[in-house]
Symmetry: C2
Subunit: 200 residues, 2 copies
Amino acid sequence: MADTPSSPLAPDAAPDRPRRSDATRAAILEAARERFAADGYERATIRAVARDAGIDPSMVMRYYGNKAGLFAAASEIDLKLPDLTSVPREELGATLVRHFLDRWERDETLTAMVRVAVTNEAGADRLRGVFVEQIRPSLAAVCAVPEEDASRAALVGSQLVGMGMLRYVLLLPPAVDLDREEVVSWLGPTIQHYLTAEHP
Amino acid sequence: MADTPSSPLAPDAAPDRPRRSDATRAAILEAARERFAADGYERATIRAVARDAGIDPSMVMRYYGNKAGLFAAASEIDLKLPDLTSVPREELGATLVRHFLDRWERDETLTAMVRVAVTNEAGADRLRGVFVEQIRPSLAAVCAVPEEDASRAALVGSQLVGMGMLRYVLLLPPAVDLDREEVVSWLGPTIQHYLTAEHP
DNA sequence: TATCGTTGCCAACAAGCGTTGACCAACAAC
DNA sequence: GTTGTTGGTCAACGCTTGTTGGCAACGATA
């Protein structure tokens, strides 16, 4: 469930020499991200991904091993969270909200991750991994009570994920209609509070 | 997609006389809620629901028409939101948070709805319906700026749904580990603010 | 030019799905 | 006691899915 099929190439220590199939691989990944984002894990079929990418389904299998491997590759994500210690303390909340709105709107990876995570255990693992490896450490650096970093990060995450759900996944009209800076000015202080308050 | 198959009984105006099959129907619904909650729409198979209920798959079809009808029946929910106008104004937030934690923990209906809504359009409709018909009107009665009732409700919903996602669906450890009153004392003021602030 | 790994297509497989219709047992009404 | 209705099983259908293996064209290397 967690191996790297890559391709029948050099068995080891091959520092990723460019392959003739790189364009195809990229097309597959892009199609996969779109399908996973639109349909979730089960309804996103390998056949549909292949069709979108303009190739045969068996190519997807060759390059990514199986459906789980395809999702693993398509859901790799680096949130690129900024170094929060160099952000003016009173702008932490707004900065984070803006960053997440950006990340959510740049491509469909986050939507795909959430849609899959909700009904697929491997997807849920992936999302928890993002939380543990990226969100939590980044927030810990500026958390008001260092030993509460996990729960504070969970609170921040709950507000950000919740807005993402309503606005980008469920497409609830009043959430979609909020304009960007409106979201920032509402959620910013909330995040700020979860992060910097000494006590609830 | 939106008819009521019920059963081959009186064609109309039959005020739901008890049927001999009521126990079976209830068993099917309970099994369905569990399966939808655990697996989402696609992976929750009619065969599995029938197995859990101890009957034949074709019974599910007879009583609920098809899979969509089964979900429609299993996802009927009344949040039973209290009349917020009779809640002391400064306790609005805490009251709402407690109510939602209760509702989420009483049975698996909410988890099922969220799990399905994320990958199934009918499920998403259902959840948006709950928002429009139950959450929004209830909150509108106490909204600080009446003409902003939709966006305020979306903000409140985003925080509540987000915590529900992390705590009951994704089972993110630090969100699961928060104890109840801790959640109330963090989210309460947030909800309170979204609801009663004149301005972000 | 001959070789060999790579890229791609095609056809098929086994399994699982939602759904259907025929059929039987128990009950209720007359 | 017969008859019609209801509750339930069984076996099958058509379809889609993930996945596999064989085979042909291509491109670099020798």
